[in-house]
């Protein structure tokens, strides 16, 4: 197993009180596997992504649980040890590449610098590798000397991906990497991800609000709601037979171009304020299958025919 996340808890200590942004999340990820983490704003999906790299920004903190990469627990490592892991073994790609790229630095140099920060090779060799990487992600080599502003949003994201793969990481965490891009470019970036996993065996965690996208590209999907992992199973199982009422409702809320005369349903209410989450199940105020117990006690984590679900519908 490449990555084992166990009972992870992340809290933010804000002026208004403690926000429990990730609560008791566990999952495993194999080499060259693609996992989707899907959720709405405030679900904790981005915090979870950062926590895997032990990069939760202050005032946030991992308060419990472990993140093991090849058996080594990242939550117990020193900052120095973590620096070795980040970039080299786990790389991250964010939604807005412009905030991660230095506007005064040529795109080729970004990649050269990323390589040289971790490997003791000559600048010439690093440059050769950078050129190969640009080619790999579909950018013409003669753009090596371009500045970030000379590239389109899609090309900048390709540069970010080139930097991410420059050190042959085992895992890439991509947080809404295509949300700012158009569908055709999104499709191209997804093809690129799928090639990276096939050619290099890289595992990918794709964080997105877009369940349709996740269903199309991920092997398995984790559904987050209000800091909880509500459901985790194969993408095909989730599409065919979602277990959690939230996943069921979410599937009815996304438009499908393949369907004629589709009736879209929205989920009544809105996600809870995490400063004051509702008692019992966090989804209970919006749930169509609510039972009395749902308002009283936190639902147990259940395994139903090999699939994870956190809901009282599936017994105690």
């Amino acid at each position: 197993m490449l990555l084992e996340v166990e009972d992870l808890h992340v809290h933010y200590y804000t002026k208004r009180g403690v926000v429990k942004a990730v609560e008791g999340v566990s999952f495993n990820l194999d080499r060259s596997e693609v996992m989707g983490i899907v959720g709405e704003s405030g679900s904790g999906k981005s915090t979870l992504g950062l926590a895997i790299m032990n990069l939760v920004p202050s005032p946030g903190k991992i308060v419990k649980g472990s993140v093991k990469l090849d058996g080594k627990d990242l939550t117990k490592m020193s900052e120095k040890e973590l620096k070795e892991i980040r970039g080299k073994e786990i790389a991250m790609v964010f939604q807005d590449p412009m905030t991660s790229l230095d506007p005064l630095m040529r795109i080729g140099d970004h990649i050269v610098e990323a390589i040289m920060a971790h490997e003791k090779i000559s600048k010439e060799e690093a440059k050769k590798r950078a050129l190969e990487l640009l080619d790999e992600v579909g950018i013409s080599k003669d753009r090596f000397n371009d500045y970030p502003h000379q590239l389109s949003g899609g090309m900048r994201q390709r540069v970010m991906i080139a930097m991410a793969v420059s050190l042959n990481p085992k895992l890439i965490i991509a947080d809404e990497p295509t949300t700012a891009l158009d569908v055709i470019v999104q499709d191209q970036i997804m093809d690129l991800f799928s090639r990276l996993r096939k050619e290099f065996g890289i595992a990918i965690i794709l964080i997105s609000h877009d369940l349709a996208l996740e269903l199309e590209v991920a092997d398995k999907i984790a559904v987050m709601y209000a800091s909880w992992l509500m459901e985790l199973s194969n993408a095909s199982d989730i599409a065919r037979e979602p277990l959690h009422p939230y996943t069921k409702e979410l599937l009815k809320a996304i438009p499908n171009v393949e369907l004629e005369d589709q009736e879209l349903l929205s989920i009544p209410g809105s996600p809870p304020d995490l400063h004051e989450p509702p008692p019992g199940c966090r989804f209970n105020p919006r749930c169509l299958n609510k039972m009395p117990i749902c308002e009283e006690k936190e639902p147990p984590a259940k395994i139903v025919s090999g699939r994870f679900v956190k809901c009282w519908l599936y017994g105690r």
């Binding site: 709405e40 704003s41 389109s152 949003g153 899609g154 090309m155 158009d182 569908v183 055709i184 470019v185 999104q186 499709d187 191209q188 093809d191 609000h209 877009d210 369940l211 349709a212 996208l213 269903l215 199309e216 590209v217 993408a235 095909s236 599409a239 409702e249 979410l250 599937l251 809320a253 996304i254 438009p255 499908n256 171009v257 393949e258 004629e260 589709q262 879209l264 349903l265 929205s266 989920i267 009544p268 809105s270 996600p271």
Partner: protein
């Protein structure tokens, strides 16, 4: 006909550097909208769909005369408004409103919700005082912000994104417009709430008999709400038709590519995929001939030489592509 747009163009001049100014007199332009024509009936929903840089948002602003067109004609309720002065436009403004994408930026944070919605009533001298307040309360109820008295006095900061967008909708609807331009109204709204905002817009359409010019990058959303759709690319309409025709029988290679790039929540289903290379070119250097030819998988020798015109293939179904000429 509620709205008729003929050969509408908007060119933005490109700022030149000092050296360029010395070397050349030639002005360069971003051809954001480059000659489009369409019409809208009362009570209809017409979607402009395209990638960023396609000119869809500029078109929406032109139609409302929020910016001035470079060329072309806009006729609203039978009246040519292309070159009306802002003063003469004023009485028409209450019939044409806009809803923006970002409900966090479109509302004044210092204005209570009630005041924000009442504002257009005062500006257009439709009502004031108690009467205006009652109209606002009624509108709050209609857009689902209940109890209306509570929302009337609250500030936008205390509202969720979905609730803010309802306020923006209420504000657009309070003057009972005939045409509302909705520019990506749900793209910043959480997925679980999108349908409720779209359904609200459709309910209000029925109730007030208004029409939407709906601007979106999302074909799936456009399919859900529109009667008629135009696919835009680099400032031109590539294909236009009734929603049903466009999805059952897409004609333009670009439309087909867009459709095949949309993720569909049914895994394992193999679809005909049309992959495009590259990205939408700059609107400063529009490719000659068909502007899509640089990315078109179906291109042939005519495509980079002659620009295809929008042609009616079937009643109401238009396409601009040499494959069909």
């Amino acid at each position: 006909m509620l709205l008729e747009v003929k050969n509408l163009k908007k060119y933005f001049p490109v700022a030149k550097t000092f050296i360029e100014r010395l070397l050349t007199r030639e002005e360069r332009y971003v051809k954001a909208v480059d000659g489009i024509s369409f019409s809208m009936e009362e009570g209809g929903v017409f979607s402009l769909v395209g990638e960023s840089g396609s000119g869809k948002t500029t078109t929406g602003k032109l139609v409302l005369r929020l910016i001035d067109p470079t060329a072309g004609q806009i006729t609203f309720q039978g009246r040519d408004i292309t070159s009306l002065s802002q003063k003469k436009l004023r009485p028409l403004r209450k019939h044409m409103q806009i809803i923006y994408q970002d409900p966090y930026a479109s509302l004044n944070p210092r204005m209570r919700v009630g005041e924000a919605i009442m504002d257009p009533l005062l500006i257009h001298k439709i009502a004031e005082g108690e009467e205006a307040k009652n109209m606002v309360l009624e509108m709050l109820e209609k857009v689902g912000l209940t109890p209306p008295e509570v929302f009337y006095d609250s500030y936008p900061a205390y509202l969720s994104g979905g609730q803010r967008q309802r306020v923006a909708i209420a504000r657009a609807m309070i003057t009972r417009p005939k045409l509302v331009v909705a520019d990506e109204p749900v793209s910043m709204i959480d997925v679980s709430l999108r349908a409720s905002i779209l359904d609200l817009m459709m309910d209000l359409r029925k109730e007030f008999g208004l029409a939407y010019l709906f601007i979106t990058h999302d074909l799936a959303v456009a399919k859900y709400i529109s009667d008629k759709i135009a696919i835009m690319y680099l400032g031109k309409i590539m294909e236009m038709g009734k929603t049903r025709d466009l999805f059952r029988d897409p004609l333009h290679p670009y439309t087909k590519a867009l459709l095949s790039a949309i993720p569909v929540p049914t895994p394992g289903k193999s679809r005909e995929r049309i992959k495009l290379k590259g990205e939408i070119p700059s609107a400063i250097d529009i490719p000659p001939g068909c502007r899509f030819h640089t990315r078109c998988p179906m291109r042939f020798d005519l495509c980079d030489k002659e620009e295809p015109q929008l042609k009616e293939m079937k009643p109401g179904h238009f396409v601009a592509c040499h494959l069909y000429s």
